[in-house]
Symmetry: C2
Amino acid sequence: MGADRTGHRKQAPARVSAPPREAPADVRPRRPALAHVVATRLEEEIVLGRRHPRERLIEQELCGQFGTHRGDVRIALFELEKKGLIERVRNRGAMVRDLTPKEVTEIYAVREELEVMAARILPFPVAGADLARLEALQKKHGAAIDAGDMLGVFYANLHFHQALFGLCGNACLIETIEQAAQKVYGIRSYANASPQVLERARRDHVDMIKAVRAGRREELVALTRRHLKPQPEAYIRAYQRRFGSAMGGESE
Amino acid sequence: MGADRTGHRKQAPARVSAPPREAPADVRPRRPALAHVVATRLEEEIVLGRRHPRERLIEQELCGQFGTHRGDVRIALFELEKKGLIERVRNRGAMVRDLTPKEVTEIYAVREELEVMAARILPFPVAGADLARLEALQKKHGAAIDAGDMLGVFYANLHFHQALFGLCGNACLIETIEQAAQKVYGIRSYANASPQVLERARRDHVDMIKAVRAGRREELVALTRRHLKPQPEAYIRAYQRRFGSAMGGESE
DNA sequence: CAAATGCGGATTGTATACAATCTGGAAAAC
DNA sequence: GTTTTCCAGATTGTATACAATCCGCATTTG
Protein backbone atom coordinates (compact mmCIF):
# COMPACT_ATOMS: atom_id res chain seq x y z
CA MET A 1 0.00 0.00 0.00
CA GLY A 2 2.06 2.83 -1.23
CA ALA A 3 0.37 6.16 -1.44
CA ASP A 4 -2.67 4.84 -3.13
CA ARG A 5 -5.58 4.25 -0.87
CA THR A 6 -8.10 4.87 -3.55
CA GLY A 7 -11.45 6.18 -2.68
CA HIS A 8 -10.31 8.08 0.26
CA ARG A 9 -8.32 10.96 -1.00
CA LYS A 10 -10.01 14.19 -0.25
CA GLN A 11 -7.70 15.41 2.44
CA ALA A 12 -8.41 19.10 2.08
CA PRO A 13 -11.90 19.88 0.91
CA ALA A 14 -11.71 23.16 2.77
CA ARG A 15 -10.44 25.04 -0.17
CA VAL A 16 -11.97 28.47 -0.22
CA SER A 17 -15.24 27.45 1.22
CA ALA A 18 -15.14 27.89 4.93
CA PRO A 19 -12.55 28.42 7.60
CA PRO A 20 -11.95 25.40 9.77
CA ARG A 21 -14.45 25.38 12.52
CA GLU A 22 -12.59 25.05 15.72
CA ALA A 23 -15.49 23.99 17.85
CA PRO A 24 -17.86 21.85 15.86
CA ALA A 25 -20.96 21.22 17.87
CA ASP A 26 -19.93 17.61 17.88
CA VAL A 27 -21.51 16.69 21.15
CA ARG A 28 -21.80 13.09 20.20
CA PRO A 29 -21.31 10.72 23.09
CA ARG A 30 -17.92 9.78 21.78
CA ARG A 31 -16.06 7.90 24.43
CA PRO A 32 -12.94 9.80 25.43
CA ALA A 33 -9.65 8.23 24.56
CA LEU A 34 -9.17 5.53 27.14
CA ALA A 35 -5.49 6.25 27.42
CA HIS A 36 -6.18 9.77 28.59
CA VAL A 37 -8.53 8.50 31.23
CA VAL A 38 -5.78 6.28 32.57
CA ALA A 39 -3.35 9.19 32.53
CA THR A 40 -5.78 11.42 34.36
CA ARG A 41 -6.53 8.89 37.04
CA LEU A 42 -2.86 8.21 37.57
CA GLU A 43 -2.32 11.93 37.97
CA GLU A 44 -4.97 12.03 40.63
CA GLU A 45 -3.43 9.17 42.52
CA ILE A 46 -0.06 10.85 42.47
CA VAL A 47 -1.55 14.07 43.75
CA LEU A 48 -3.31 12.36 46.59
CA GLY A 49 -0.12 10.75 47.75
CA ARG A 50 -1.45 7.30 46.96
CA ARG A 51 1.60 6.99 44.73
CA HIS A 52 4.76 8.14 46.41
CA PRO A 53 7.79 9.61 44.68
CA ARG A 54 10.09 6.92 43.32
CA GLU A 55 7.32 4.35 43.41
CA ARG A 56 7.49 2.07 40.42
CA LEU A 57 4.64 1.91 37.95
CA ILE A 58 4.40 -1.49 36.30
CA GLU A 59 2.43 -1.66 33.10
CA GLN A 60 0.83 -5.01 33.65
CA GLU A 61 -0.15 -4.04 37.16
CA LEU A 62 -1.80 -0.85 35.97
CA CYS A 63 -3.65 -2.82 33.32
CA GLY A 64 -5.36 -4.76 36.04
CA GLN A 65 -6.13 -1.70 38.12
CA PHE A 66 -7.61 0.32 35.31
CA GLY A 67 -9.13 -2.58 33.44
CA THR A 68 -7.50 -2.08 30.09
CA HIS A 69 -4.68 -3.41 27.96
CA ARG A 70 -1.04 -2.47 27.95
CA GLY A 71 -1.29 -0.38 24.82
CA ASP A 72 -3.34 2.28 26.55
CA VAL A 73 -1.34 2.13 29.75
CA ARG A 74 1.79 2.58 27.73
CA ILE A 75 0.45 5.70 26.02
CA ALA A 76 -0.63 7.08 29.38
CA LEU A 77 2.85 6.57 30.80
CA PHE A 78 4.47 8.30 27.85
CA GLU A 79 2.05 11.16 28.32
CA LEU A 80 2.80 11.50 32.01
CA GLU A 81 6.50 11.38 31.23
CA LYS A 82 6.17 14.29 28.87
CA LYS A 83 4.14 16.11 31.48
CA GLY A 84 7.00 15.68 33.91
CA LEU A 85 5.05 13.69 36.46
CA ILE A 86 6.92 10.45 36.08
CA GLU A 87 10.32 9.32 34.92
CA ARG A 88 10.90 6.56 32.44
CA VAL A 89 14.02 4.56 31.73
CA ARG A 90 14.17 2.32 28.72
CA ASN A 91 13.69 -1.34 29.55
CA ARG A 92 13.36 -0.49 33.19
CA GLY A 93 10.00 1.13 33.45
CA ALA A 94 8.45 4.16 35.02
CA MET A 95 8.42 5.68 38.47
CA VAL A 96 6.83 8.69 40.12
CA ARG A 97 9.22 11.54 39.78
CA ASP A 98 11.03 13.02 42.72
CA LEU A 99 11.69 16.69 42.18
CA THR A 100 14.70 18.48 43.61
CA PRO A 101 14.26 21.81 45.38
CA LYS A 102 15.92 23.56 42.48
CA GLU A 103 13.45 22.14 39.99
CA VAL A 104 10.54 23.06 42.21
CA THR A 105 11.80 26.60 42.57
CA GLU A 106 12.17 26.95 38.83
CA ILE A 107 8.74 25.58 38.12
CA TYR A 108 7.14 27.95 40.56
CA ALA A 109 8.98 30.87 39.00
CA VAL A 110 7.40 29.99 35.67
CA ARG A 111 4.01 29.49 37.25
CA GLU A 112 4.21 32.92 38.82
CA GLU A 113 5.06 34.54 35.52
CA LEU A 114 2.21 32.83 33.73
CA GLU A 115 -0.42 33.39 36.36
CA VAL A 116 0.56 37.01 36.77
CA MET A 117 0.20 37.39 33.03
CA ALA A 118 -3.30 35.99 33.25
CA ALA A 119 -4.12 38.42 36.01
CA ARG A 120 -2.85 41.29 33.90
CA ILE A 121 -4.78 40.55 30.73
CA LEU A 122 -7.94 39.48 32.53
CA PRO A 123 -10.67 41.78 31.20
CA PHE A 124 -12.48 43.83 33.80
CA PRO A 125 -15.20 44.04 34.88
CA VAL A 126 -15.93 40.37 35.46
CA ALA A 127 -19.49 39.22 34.92
CA GLY A 128 -21.60 38.56 37.96
CA ALA A 129 -22.16 34.95 37.07
CA ASP A 130 -18.43 34.34 36.98
CA LEU A 131 -17.98 35.98 40.35
CA ALA A 132 -20.70 33.82 41.78
CA ARG A 133 -19.02 30.73 40.44
CA LEU A 134 -15.72 31.73 41.98
CA GLU A 135 -17.39 32.22 45.32
CA ALA A 136 -19.12 28.89 45.15
CA LEU A 137 -15.84 27.14 44.41
CA GLN A 138 -14.11 29.01 47.18
CA LYS A 139 -16.77 27.88 49.64
CA LYS A 140 -16.26 24.32 48.52
CA HIS A 141 -12.55 24.70 49.06
CA GLY A 142 -13.00 26.04 52.55
CA ALA A 143 -15.43 23.31 53.44
CA ALA A 144 -13.05 20.64 52.23
CA ILE A 145 -10.26 22.11 54.35
CA ASP A 146 -12.50 22.09 57.42
CA ALA A 147 -13.47 18.51 56.74
CA GLY A 148 -9.87 17.44 56.25
CA ASP A 149 -10.88 16.04 52.88
CA MET A 150 -7.68 16.21 50.90
CA LEU A 151 -9.25 14.96 47.73
CA GLY A 152 -11.88 17.66 47.98
CA VAL A 153 -9.27 20.29 48.75
CA PHE A 154 -7.32 19.36 45.69
CA TYR A 155 -10.22 19.46 43.30
CA ALA A 156 -11.84 22.55 44.75
CA ASN A 157 -8.54 24.37 44.58
CA LEU A 158 -7.94 23.17 41.04
CA HIS A 159 -11.37 24.25 39.89
CA PHE A 160 -11.10 27.61 41.60
CA HIS A 161 -7.90 28.42 39.81
CA GLN A 162 -9.17 27.09 36.51
CA ALA A 163 -12.20 29.32 36.81
CA LEU A 164 -10.16 32.33 37.83
CA PHE A 165 -7.51 32.11 35.16
CA GLY A 166 -10.02 30.88 32.65
CA LEU A 167 -11.41 34.40 32.70
CA CYS A 168 -8.32 35.69 30.93
CA GLY A 169 -9.58 34.54 27.56
CA ASN A 170 -6.30 33.22 26.18
CA ALA A 171 -6.74 29.49 25.68
CA CYS A 172 -3.05 28.84 25.18
CA LEU A 173 -2.18 30.65 28.38
CA ILE A 174 -4.78 28.70 30.31
CA GLU A 175 -3.38 25.46 28.98
CA THR A 176 0.19 26.44 29.74
CA ILE A 177 -0.71 27.43 33.28
CA GLU A 178 -2.37 24.08 33.70
CA GLN A 179 0.67 22.23 32.40
CA ALA A 180 3.01 24.04 34.72
CA ALA A 181 0.75 23.31 37.66
CA GLN A 182 0.66 19.64 36.74
CA LYS A 183 4.40 19.39 37.03
CA VAL A 184 4.20 19.92 40.75
CA TYR A 185 1.16 17.78 41.35
CA GLY A 186 3.41 15.14 42.79
CA ILE A 187 4.60 17.35 45.61
CA ARG A 188 1.33 18.91 46.57
CA SER A 189 0.90 16.46 49.38
CA TYR A 190 3.98 17.88 51.04
CA ALA A 191 2.78 21.45 50.89
CA ASN A 192 -0.75 20.60 51.94
CA ALA A 193 0.43 18.66 54.93
CA SER A 194 0.77 21.93 56.77
CA PRO A 195 -2.50 23.35 58.08
CA GLN A 196 -1.12 26.86 58.02
CA VAL A 197 -0.49 26.65 54.31
CA LEU A 198 -4.04 25.50 53.74
CA GLU A 199 -5.46 28.26 55.91
CA ARG A 200 -3.48 30.86 54.10
CA ALA A 201 -4.60 29.53 50.75
CA ARG A 202 -8.19 29.83 51.87
CA ARG A 203 -7.72 33.46 52.89
CA ASP A 204 -5.89 34.20 49.65
CA HIS A 205 -8.82 32.92 47.64
CA VAL A 206 -11.22 35.19 49.50
CA ASP A 207 -8.98 38.18 48.93
CA MET A 208 -8.55 37.33 45.27
CA ILE A 209 -12.29 37.30 44.73
CA LYS A 210 -12.53 40.67 46.44
CA ALA A 211 -9.82 42.11 44.21
CA VAL A 212 -11.47 40.71 41.09
CA ARG A 213 -14.85 42.07 42.07
CA ALA A 214 -13.43 45.52 42.72
CA GLY A 215 -11.36 45.44 39.57
CA ARG A 216 -8.18 46.14 41.51
CA ARG A 217 -5.70 44.59 39.15
CA GLU A 218 -2.46 45.28 40.95
CA GLU A 219 -3.87 43.83 44.12
CA LEU A 220 -4.84 40.68 42.24
CA VAL A 221 -1.35 40.42 40.82
CA ALA A 222 0.20 40.79 44.24
CA LEU A 223 -2.13 38.18 45.68
CA THR A 224 -1.31 35.79 42.87
CA ARG A 225 2.36 36.08 43.68
CA ARG A 226 1.85 35.71 47.38
CA HIS A 227 -0.43 32.75 46.89
CA LEU A 228 2.22 30.72 45.15
CA LYS A 229 5.00 31.50 47.56
CA PRO A 230 4.41 29.14 50.50
CA GLN A 231 4.18 25.99 48.45
CA PRO A 232 7.76 25.58 47.22
CA GLU A 233 8.98 26.71 50.61
CA ALA A 234 7.00 24.00 52.36
CA TYR A 235 8.32 21.39 49.96
CA ILE A 236 11.89 22.46 50.40
CA ARG A 237 11.59 22.29 54.15
CA ALA A 238 10.16 18.80 53.91
CA TYR A 239 12.88 17.79 51.46
CA GLN A 240 15.63 19.01 53.74
CA ARG A 241 14.12 17.19 56.68
CA ARG A 242 14.17 14.03 54.61
CA PHE A 243 17.69 14.19 53.27
CA GLY A 244 19.42 16.49 55.67
CA SER A 245 19.93 20.14 54.97
CA ALA A 246 23.34 19.61 53.45
CA MET A 247 21.87 20.38 50.08
CA GLY A 248 20.59 23.82 49.36
CA GLY A 249 20.19 23.98 45.61
CA GLU A 250 22.63 21.60 44.10
CA SER A 251 22.38 19.19 41.24
CA GLU A 252 20.04 20.30 38.57
CA MET B 1 2.93 -2.63 0.55
CA GLY B 2 3.73 -5.30 3.01
CA ALA B 3 5.96 -2.94 4.85
CA ASP B 4 5.69 -4.86 8.04
CA ARG B 5 8.83 -6.87 7.80
CA THR B 6 10.38 -4.35 10.07
CA GLY B 7 12.24 -6.37 12.59
CA HIS B 8 11.76 -9.93 11.58
CA ARG B 9 14.98 -11.73 12.19
CA LYS B 10 15.46 -15.09 13.79
CA GLN B 11 19.10 -15.98 13.72
CA ALA B 12 20.79 -12.71 14.46
CA PRO B 13 23.52 -12.86 17.07
CA ALA B 14 21.74 -11.58 20.11
CA ARG B 15 24.39 -8.96 20.50
CA VAL B 16 23.28 -5.76 18.85
CA SER B 17 19.54 -5.63 19.12
CA ALA B 18 19.69 -5.12 15.37
CA PRO B 19 17.34 -2.30 14.56
CA PRO B 20 15.68 -2.47 11.17
CA ARG B 21 18.23 -1.48 8.60
CA GLU B 22 16.18 1.45 7.42
CA ALA B 23 16.66 2.85 10.88
CA PRO B 24 17.47 6.57 10.64
CA ALA B 25 20.59 8.31 11.85
CA ASP B 26 19.94 6.69 15.19
CA VAL B 27 23.17 4.86 15.65
CA ARG B 28 22.69 3.86 19.24
CA PRO B 29 20.14 1.09 19.39
CA ARG B 30 19.42 1.48 23.08
CA ARG B 31 19.16 5.19 23.75
CA PRO B 32 15.94 7.05 23.04
CA ALA B 33 12.43 5.76 22.96
CA LEU B 34 11.67 4.99 19.33
CA ALA B 35 8.30 6.61 19.65
CA HIS B 36 9.90 9.94 20.42
CA VAL B 37 12.05 9.67 17.34
CA VAL B 38 8.95 9.19 15.24
CA ALA B 39 7.29 12.16 16.93
CA THR B 40 10.33 14.33 16.32
CA ARG B 41 10.61 13.44 12.69
CA LEU B 42 6.92 14.05 12.15
CA GLU B 43 7.34 17.45 13.74
CA GLU B 44 10.10 18.22 11.32
CA GLU B 45 8.04 17.21 8.35
CA ILE B 46 5.19 19.40 9.48
CA VAL B 47 7.54 22.33 9.90
CA LEU B 48 8.99 21.93 6.47
CA GLY B 49 5.61 21.97 4.87
CA ARG B 50 5.95 18.39 3.73
CA ARG B 51 2.79 17.78 5.72
CA HIS B 52 0.14 20.38 5.07
CA PRO B 53 -2.54 21.46 7.52
CA ARG B 54 -5.52 19.12 7.46
CA GLU B 55 -3.45 16.37 5.88
CA ARG B 56 -4.38 13.00 7.29
CA LEU B 57 -1.83 10.92 9.12
CA ILE B 58 -2.52 7.21 8.75
CA GLU B 59 -0.87 4.94 11.29
CA GLN B 60 -0.08 2.07 8.96
CA GLU B 61 1.36 4.42 6.40
CA LEU B 62 3.62 6.05 8.96
CA CYS B 63 4.75 2.61 10.08
CA GLY B 64 6.14 2.01 6.66
CA GLN B 65 7.76 5.40 6.39
CA PHE B 66 9.48 5.28 9.74
CA GLY B 67 10.15 1.58 9.79
CA THR B 68 8.45 0.65 13.00
CA HIS B 69 5.23 -0.85 14.30
CA ARG B 70 1.92 0.79 15.02
CA GLY B 71 2.47 0.85 18.76
CA ASP B 72 5.21 3.41 18.50
CA VAL B 73 3.46 5.43 15.83
CA ARG B 74 0.38 5.53 18.00
CA ILE B 75 2.33 6.87 20.96
CA ALA B 76 3.93 9.48 18.73
CA LEU B 77 0.54 10.63 17.49
CA PHE B 78 -0.81 10.94 21.03
CA GLU B 79 2.26 12.95 21.92
CA LEU B 80 1.87 15.30 18.98
CA GLU B 81 -1.78 15.69 19.82
CA LYS B 82 -0.96 16.82 23.33
CA LYS B 83 1.64 19.17 21.90
CA GLY B 84 -1.06 20.74 19.82
CA LEU B 85 0.53 19.93 16.47
CA ILE B 86 -2.10 17.53 15.25
CA GLU B 87 -5.73 16.82 15.92
CA ARG B 88 -7.15 13.41 16.63
CA VAL B 89 -10.70 12.19 16.46
CA ARG B 90 -11.58 8.83 17.87
CA ASN B 91 -11.96 6.12 15.26
CA ARG B 92 -11.19 8.61 12.55
CA GLY B 93 -7.52 9.26 12.91
CA ALA B 94 -5.16 12.19 13.04
CA MET B 95 -4.54 15.21 10.87
CA VAL B 96 -2.15 18.12 10.89
CA ARG B 97 -3.78 20.89 12.81
CA ASP B 98 -4.91 24.06 11.16
CA LEU B 99 -4.72 26.97 13.57
CA THR B 100 -7.09 29.92 13.46
CA PRO B 101 -5.69 33.45 13.61
CA LYS B 102 -7.09 33.81 17.10
CA GLU B 103 -5.24 30.76 18.33
CA VAL B 104 -2.04 31.92 16.71
CA THR B 105 -2.33 35.35 18.28
CA GLU B 106 -2.86 33.82 21.71
CA ILE B 107 0.06 31.46 21.37
CA TYR B 108 2.38 34.25 20.37
CA ALA B 109 1.24 36.32 23.34
CA VAL B 110 2.30 33.50 25.63
CA ARG B 111 5.56 33.04 23.78
CA GLU B 112 6.34 36.70 24.20
CA GLU B 113 5.71 36.58 27.92
CA LEU B 114 7.90 33.53 28.38
CA GLU B 115 10.77 34.67 26.21
CA VAL B 116 10.77 38.10 27.79
CA MET B 117 10.94 36.42 31.16
CA ALA B 118 13.97 34.49 30.01
CA ALA B 119 15.59 37.70 28.82
CA ARG B 120 14.93 39.30 32.18
CA ILE B 121 16.39 36.59 34.38
CA LEU B 122 19.30 35.83 32.08
CA PRO B 123 22.41 36.34 34.20
CA PHE B 124 24.86 38.90 32.89
CA PRO B 125 27.62 38.94 31.88
CA VAL B 126 27.45 36.03 29.47
CA ALA B 127 30.55 33.89 29.09
CA GLY B 128 32.65 34.37 26.00
CA ALA B 129 32.20 30.78 24.89
CA ASP B 130 28.44 31.18 24.92
CA LEU B 131 28.66 34.36 22.90
CA ALA B 132 30.85 32.62 20.37
CA ARG B 133 28.34 29.83 20.07
CA LEU B 134 25.52 32.26 19.49
CA GLU B 135 27.49 33.94 16.76
CA ALA B 136 28.31 30.65 15.10
CA LEU B 137 24.65 29.68 15.08
CA GLN B 138 23.65 33.06 13.76
CA LYS B 139 26.11 32.69 10.90
CA LYS B 140 24.65 29.33 10.08
CA HIS B 141 21.20 30.84 10.07
CA GLY B 142 22.21 33.60 7.70
CA ALA B 143 23.95 31.18 5.38
CA ALA B 144 20.89 28.97 5.25
CA ILE B 145 18.71 31.95 4.37
CA ASP B 146 21.07 32.92 1.56
CA ALA B 147 21.07 29.38 0.27
CA GLY B 148 17.30 29.16 0.39
CA ASP B 149 17.69 26.05 2.52
CA MET B 150 14.50 26.01 4.55
CA LEU B 151 15.48 22.97 6.53
CA GLY B 152 18.71 24.66 7.48
CA VAL B 153 16.90 27.88 8.32
CA PHE B 154 14.57 26.07 10.62
CA TYR B 155 17.23 24.22 12.53
CA ALA B 156 19.67 27.10 12.74
CA ASN B 157 16.91 29.34 14.03
CA LEU B 158 15.79 26.71 16.50
CA HIS B 159 19.29 26.15 17.81
CA PHE B 160 19.99 29.85 18.04
CA HIS B 161 16.98 30.42 20.23
CA GLN B 162 17.63 27.33 22.29
CA ALA B 163 21.14 28.55 22.94
CA LEU B 164 20.01 32.07 23.73
CA PHE B 165 17.20 31.20 26.11
CA GLY B 166 19.14 28.28 27.46
CA LEU B 167 21.37 30.85 29.11
CA CYS B 168 18.59 31.81 31.50
CA GLY B 169 19.27 28.83 33.72
CA ASN B 170 15.67 27.86 34.45
CA ALA B 171 15.10 24.42 32.94
CA CYS B 172 11.36 24.57 33.31
CA LEU B 173 11.21 27.90 31.55
CA ILE B 174 13.35 26.62 28.71
CA GLU B 175 11.09 23.64 28.29
CA THR B 176 7.94 25.75 28.40
CA ILE B 177 9.32 28.13 25.80
CA GLU B 178 10.10 25.16 23.62
CA GLN B 179 6.60 23.76 24.00
CA ALA B 180 4.97 27.02 23.11
CA ALA B 181 7.16 27.34 20.05
CA GLN B 182 6.25 23.83 18.96
CA LYS B 183 2.60 24.71 18.86
CA VAL B 184 3.19 26.99 15.91
CA TYR B 185 5.62 24.74 14.10
CA GLY B 186 2.90 23.85 11.66
CA ILE B 187 2.50 27.43 10.45
CA ARG B 188 6.15 28.35 10.22
CA SER B 189 6.17 27.66 6.52
CA TYR B 190 3.67 30.46 6.02
CA ALA B 191 5.73 33.01 7.90
CA ASN B 192 8.98 31.92 6.33
CA ALA B 193 7.59 32.15 2.85
CA SER B 194 8.20 35.87 2.96
CA PRO B 195 11.84 36.85 2.34
CA GLN B 196 11.38 40.07 4.25
CA VAL B 197 10.45 38.18 7.39
CA LEU B 198 13.54 36.04 7.05
CA GLU B 199 15.76 39.04 6.48
CA ARG B 200 14.38 40.78 9.49
CA ALA B 201 14.87 37.70 11.61
CA ARG B 202 18.49 37.61 10.56
CA ARG B 203 19.02 41.23 11.56
CA ASP B 204 17.22 40.68 14.83
CA HIS B 205 19.56 37.87 15.71
CA VAL B 206 22.59 40.06 15.09
CA ASP B 207 21.14 42.80 17.25
CA MET B 208 20.25 40.37 19.99
CA ILE B 209 23.80 39.12 20.19
CA LYS B 210 25.02 42.69 20.42
CA ALA B 211 22.62 43.43 23.25
CA VAL B 212 23.63 40.29 25.10
CA ARG B 213 27.31 41.05 24.71
CA ALA B 214 26.86 44.58 26.01
CA GLY B 215 24.61 43.45 28.82
CA ARG B 216 21.83 45.78 27.74
CA ARG B 217 18.88 43.95 29.15
CA GLU B 218 16.07 46.26 28.19
CA GLU B 219 17.29 46.31 24.64
CA LEU B 220 17.30 42.53 24.57
CA VAL B 221 13.76 42.47 25.90
CA ALA B 222 12.60 44.91 23.25
CA LEU B 223 14.29 42.89 20.54
CA THR B 224 12.69 39.72 21.79
CA ARG B 225 9.27 41.29 21.50
CA ARG B 226 9.96 42.74 18.09
CA HIS B 227 11.37 39.46 16.86
CA LEU B 228 8.16 37.59 17.50
CA LYS B 229 5.85 40.16 16.02
CA PRO B 230 6.05 39.56 12.25
CA GLN B 231 5.32 35.86 12.40
CA PRO B 232 1.68 35.82 13.49
CA GLU B 233 1.03 38.78 11.23
CA ALA B 234 2.39 36.93 8.23
CA TYR B 235 0.28 33.90 9.03
CA ILE B 236 -2.87 35.92 9.45
CA ARG B 237 -2.32 37.61 6.12
CA ALA B 238 -1.86 34.24 4.46
CA TYR B 239 -4.92 32.88 6.20
CA GLN B 240 -7.08 35.72 5.06
CA ARG B 241 -5.87 35.31 1.51
CA ARG B 242 -6.85 31.68 1.70
CA PHE B 243 -10.32 31.97 3.16
CA GLY B 244 -11.25 35.49 2.26
CA SER B 245 -10.90 38.34 4.68
CA ALA B 246 -14.46 38.07 5.85
CA MET B 247 -13.13 37.21 9.26
CA GLY B 248 -10.97 39.79 10.85
CA GLY B 249 -11.58 39.29 14.52
CA GLU B 250 -14.24 36.73 14.96
CA SER B 251 -15.46 35.22 18.16
CA GLU B 252 -14.43 36.26 21.62
C1' DC C 1 -35.25 12.38 -9.58
C1' DA C 2 -34.22 13.10 -4.55
C1' DA C 3 -33.58 10.91 -0.30
C1' DA C 4 -32.84 7.03 2.57
C1' DT C 5 -30.25 2.90 3.33
C1' DG C 6 -27.32 -0.83 3.32
C1' DC C 7 -22.75 -2.65 1.77
C1' DG C 8 -17.65 -2.86 1.29
C1' DG C 9 -13.29 -1.09 2.12
C1' DA C 10 -10.30 1.47 4.93
C1' DT C 11 -8.65 2.79 9.43
C1' DT C 12 -8.45 2.85 14.15
C1' DG C 13 -9.09 0.40 18.74
C1' DT C 14 -8.15 -3.83 21.38
C1' DA C 15 -6.01 -8.00 22.69
C1' DT C 16 -2.34 -11.20 22.97
C1' DA C 17 1.85 -13.69 22.02
C1' DC C 18 6.69 -13.43 21.78
C1' DA C 19 11.49 -11.46 22.03
C1' DA C 20 14.91 -8.45 24.21
C1' DT C 21 16.65 -6.62 28.27
C1' DC C 22 17.29 -5.59 33.02
C1' DT C 23 17.54 -6.83 38.13
C1' DG C 24 18.78 -9.59 41.83
C1' DG C 25 20.56 -13.33 43.95
C1' DA C 26 22.59 -17.96 44.22
C1' DA C 27 26.32 -20.75 43.02
C1' DA C 28 31.06 -21.14 41.74
C1' DA C 29 35.82 -19.65 41.63
C1' DC C 30 39.66 -17.60 43.73
C1' DG D 1 35.47 -14.49 52.81
C1' DT D 2 35.16 -11.85 48.71
C1' DT D 3 34.52 -11.49 43.96
C1' DT D 4 32.83 -13.10 39.64
C1' DT D 5 29.72 -15.49 36.77
C1' DC D 6 25.64 -17.03 35.34
C1' DC D 7 20.86 -18.18 35.64
C1' DA D 8 15.86 -17.23 36.56
C1' DG D 9 12.26 -14.18 37.13
C1' DA D 10 10.21 -10.00 36.07
C1' DT D 11 9.27 -6.26 33.00
C1' DT D 12 9.41 -3.72 29.02
C1' DG D 13 9.74 -3.55 23.84
C1' DT D 14 7.96 -5.50 19.47
C1' DA D 15 4.98 -7.73 16.30
C1' DT D 16 0.64 -9.21 14.63
C1' DA D 17 -4.02 -10.75 14.49
C1' DC D 18 -8.70 -9.53 15.18
C1' DA D 19 -12.84 -6.61 16.29
C1' DA D 20 -15.26 -2.14 16.20
C1' DT D 21 -16.13 1.85 13.86
C1' DC D 22 -16.49 5.11 10.25
C1' DC D 23 -16.72 6.84 5.41
C1' DG D 24 -18.16 6.91 0.64
C1' DC D 25 -20.70 4.89 -2.87
C1' DA D 26 -24.12 2.29 -5.14
C1' DT D 27 -28.53 0.60 -4.83
C1' DT D 28 -33.03 0.98 -3.65
C1' DT D 29 -37.29 3.35 -2.58
C1' DG D 30 -40.75 7.02 -2.38
